[in-house]
């Protein structure tokens, strides 16, 4: 039954894709192509916004860059349209990373503003760089070679790429990278404590999102057949962003449906076109406040089962032997002369501490005596002003909390930091993220190492849960 619920919506989407060219006229085939192109961009953006929780609102800039890259390379350099699409993906990927850089260090508003500023300057450059972009006059979009040069042929081409992007983003979503993204979004500190590197992960995702955005741009240029800076209004950015919000965070199907709905909505009512941004602007807070789960929550039948009422928490000490690393950690934890103060408050004043393997230690003290701060120093969240921490003979580098999990140091928090939107199994699997061997690309394409990782992780996570 559960399986039917997951397969059925996708079967309907596939039926829709087939029905458009068979049952509707050419106008709707073009609309369908546009929806597919938007989705190619959104599929990548969705990983950053829906899964990673990053407020990337200016992604029309990547569509612009991709479109101009492809158009310029075909029109002015004479490259083949296929190679131009690859180049568009490359330019998009690099820009995606550059624009994403501030997300690593700064609060969400800065990142939102950076993507917005990037959209602003991209349009300005497209207008001002007349020798290359044609300025306000624009330049023709690349024409696809046969058999993709007809309306139907191009529809098929875009649908194939859209399906590919859907598949890849779904692969990532269900991999350890997808779980790590959700963990960063909902419990950043805990994610770092389990060894997830926010910087590396987000950069990879921005790279991917930029690439899909660039490809979408190249296709968009072909669809438009002629591009000017006017074609890339900020409305499109808002459309991409809202499609993900309507679709629901942490879902693939939801944002896909959101993209399709928002693409075809103005076609049903022509007066809506002028008001579309207005509509998006009203929708934005309404969705966030009233329907945070989006379409995905409506389609989520599996999680509607009520919880069993007679559940109890039972400690199972016998599992410990199975779960703990055999042989113990790599030596004793030693702190030497740790000093740390917050403003005028000296939280830790010259602490020396040795924690030996195989023993249970307790740290006792009144409120504000620096217990948690000590743990934070060991785990790398707080950087001491003086002193050093070692694990065995290895020095614990301060300020890099994500390096601790790999050394066998794990921690819990005063209040549990669970990832609310992940299942129990996924929450446990997040703890095993660093045990994975496969790379992002291997997960993208579900290569053998990815499948082995998933099998091992699921298996290991089941041990304490059964």
């Amino acid at each position: 039954m559960d399986r039917l619920h997951t397969v059925l919506p996708w079967a309907l989407v596939a039926a829709m894709v087939l029905a458009v060219p068979l049952g509707f006229n050419e106008f709707w085939v073009v609309i369908g192509t546009r929806a597919a192109i938007y989705w190619i961009l959104v599929s990548g953006l969705n990983l950053a916004v829906g899964f990673g929780g990053q407020l990337a609102i200016g992604y029309v800039a990547l569509l612009t860059l991709g479109a101009y890259t492809a158009a310029i390379l075909v029109e002015r350099v004479g490259l083949s349209p296929y190679l131009a699409l690859v180049a568009a993906a490359g330019v998009g990927a690099i820009s995606g990373v550059i624009v994403g850089l501030p997300a690593l260090r700064l609060r969400t508003f800065y990142f939102a503003m950076t993507t917005l500023g990037f959209a602003t300057i991209t349009t300005q450059v497209a207008l001002a760089w007349q020798g290359v972009t044609g300025g306000g006059i624009g330049l023709p979009g690349p024409e696809m070679p046969a058999p993709f040069n007809t309306t139907l042929g191009f529809y098929v081409f875009c649908m194939i790429l859209a399906a590919l992007c859907t598949w890849m983003s779904a692969n990532i979503a269900s991999s350890r990278f997808g779980r790590a993204l959700v963990a960063i979004r909902d419990a950043e500190v805990a994610a770092e404590a389990t060894g997830i590197s926010k910087a590396a992960l987000l950069m990879t995702v921005f790279l991917f999102a930029g690439a899909t955005g660039g490809v979408a741009g190249g296709l968009f240029a072909t669809l438009q057949s002629y591009i000017t800076p006017d074609a890339f209004t900020f409305d499109l950015s808002v459309l991409f962003f809202i499609a993900i919000l309507i679709g629901g965070r942490g879902s693939i199907l939801g944002p896909l449906l959101g993209t399709v709905i928002l693409t075809i909505l103005p076609e049903f009512a022509a007066p809506l076109v002028a008001w579309s941004t207005f509509l998006y602007a009203v929708l934005l807070p309404v969705i966030v406040l009233a329907m945070p789960g989006g379409i995905a929550a409506l389609l989520d039948f599996a999680n509607r089962k009520p919880l069993e009422s007679d559940r109890a928490i039972v400690p199972r000490a016998e599992l410990l032997a199975q779960l703990l690393t055999p042989g113990g950690p790599g030596g004793e934890i030693t702190l030497r002369g740790i000093v740390l103060s917050f403003g005028g408050v000296r939280a830790i004043d010259g602490l020396d501490l040795t924690v030996r393997p195989g023993e249970v230690h307790g740290l006792i003290g009144p409120n504000g005596s620096g217990k948690t701060t000590t743990l934070n120093v060991i785990c790398g969240f707080n950087v001491p002003e003086q002193g050093e921490a070692h694990l065995g003979s290895a020095r614990l580098r301060q300020g890099i909390p994500q390096s601790r999990a790999g050394m066998g140091i794990a921690r819990t928090f005063q209040t549990p930091r669970l990832v609310g939107e992940a299942s129990v199994l996924e929450n446990v699997m997040i703890g095993g993220t660093i045990a994975g061997q496969g790379s992002f690309v291997e997960s993208l394409l579900t290569l053998p190492r990815h499948r082995r990782d998933e099998a091992t992780l699921t298996d290991r996570a089941h041990t304490p849960l059964e």
Partner: protein, 286 residues
């Protein structure tokens, strides 16, 4: 030529600086960076043109009306986009709610005003297009007036000190019995007025154009990021420097480089000095 670059650079820089101050005034009262700051700057120009040229209101009443409407938009920002999400600051909902409100404003202007740049009335009539033209020095005068006004408000009046108090420590201010909610609304009204002044004073330079909002949003934020959140002195120095840099680059190497350079500097500063060049998080909000 140098004087022309300086004149236009300082003029546009003064507008960026004022939009930066608009951001800061809203931020000081609520810890919220609002996307409506640039839209207020845009509205100052559009409303000024609407009242004076379309409806034939004399210039001074036209200015007063423009600023009144901008103040109202400021208050509406607080009521609609900030207050409902203030309790969930952690989730950064304000980014989305203020963005949505800013888009609403922009779209309404596009629909009911025009999507083409419209002329702005000649306010005084000094200068004939040269570097001494009023369109270049009016933004600077407005900027100086706003700095002087804010300085007076914050240092000499009780309300101004109350603003500083809630900016410095919200909880302590409320414990002292300050009406935090009303002060926040007043701050947003003040921000509306400052944004309106920026737009009105630069009307002759930037024209009454709906798309100015998003441009001012970004270029007004750059000095805030450079100067540090809530630091007005940093925003003004940063704004003027940005304006002069942009115009010089525009003239010397062209607009493409100018845009890219501004963006590059913005990202590098954000990465190298997230608190801004001019201060720390505890910098005084003057």
């Amino acid at each position: 030529m140098l004087s022309a670059i300086l004149a236009s650079g300082l003029a546009i820089g003064a507008v960026y600086a004022l939009v930066g101050v608009t951001y800061n005034v809203m931020f000081a009262a609520s810890r919220v960076m609002s996307f409506t700051a640039g839209q207020l700057g845009m509205l100052g120009g559009v409303l000024g043109s609407a009242f004076i040229l379309r409806l034939g209101v004399p210039i001074l009443p036209g200015l007063v009306l423009t600023l009144a409407v901008c103040a109202l938009i400021g208050v509406l920002t607080e009521l609609i986009a900030v207050r409902p999400v203030l309790n969930s600051l952690e989730q950064h909902l304000y980014v989305l709610s203020t963005l949505a409100f800013a888009l609403l404003i922009q779209q309404l202007v596009a629909i009911y005003w025009s999507t083409e740049p419209q002329p702005f009335p000649r306010l005084i009539g000094i200068g004939a297009g040269g570097p001494g033209d009023e369109k270049f020095w009016l933004p600077l005068v407005a900027c100086a007036a706003v700095i002087g006004g804010l300085e007076f408000l914050y240092r000499r009046t009780l309300v101004g000190r109350a603003f500083l108090a809630i900016a410095e420590d919200n909880f302590a201010a409320r414990a002292l019995g300050l009406p935090e909610r009303n002060l926040r609304m007043a701050s947003y009204a003040l921000a509306g007025v400052i944004g309106g002044i920026a737009g009105f004073a630069s009307g002759e330079l930037l024209l009454a154009f709906f798309a100015n909002g998003s441009i001012l949003n970004f270029y007004g934020f750059v000095p805030v990021a450079l100067g540090g959140l809530g630091n007005n002195r940093g925003a003004i120095i940063g704004g003027l420097a940005l304006g002069v840099f942009q115009q010089t680059a525009n003239f010397l190497v062209g607009g493409v480089f100018a845009s890219v350079a501004v963006f590059a500097v913005f990202i590098i500063v954000l990465l190298a000095a997230p608190q801004g060049l001019f201060g720390s998080t505890t910098a005084r909000r003057v």
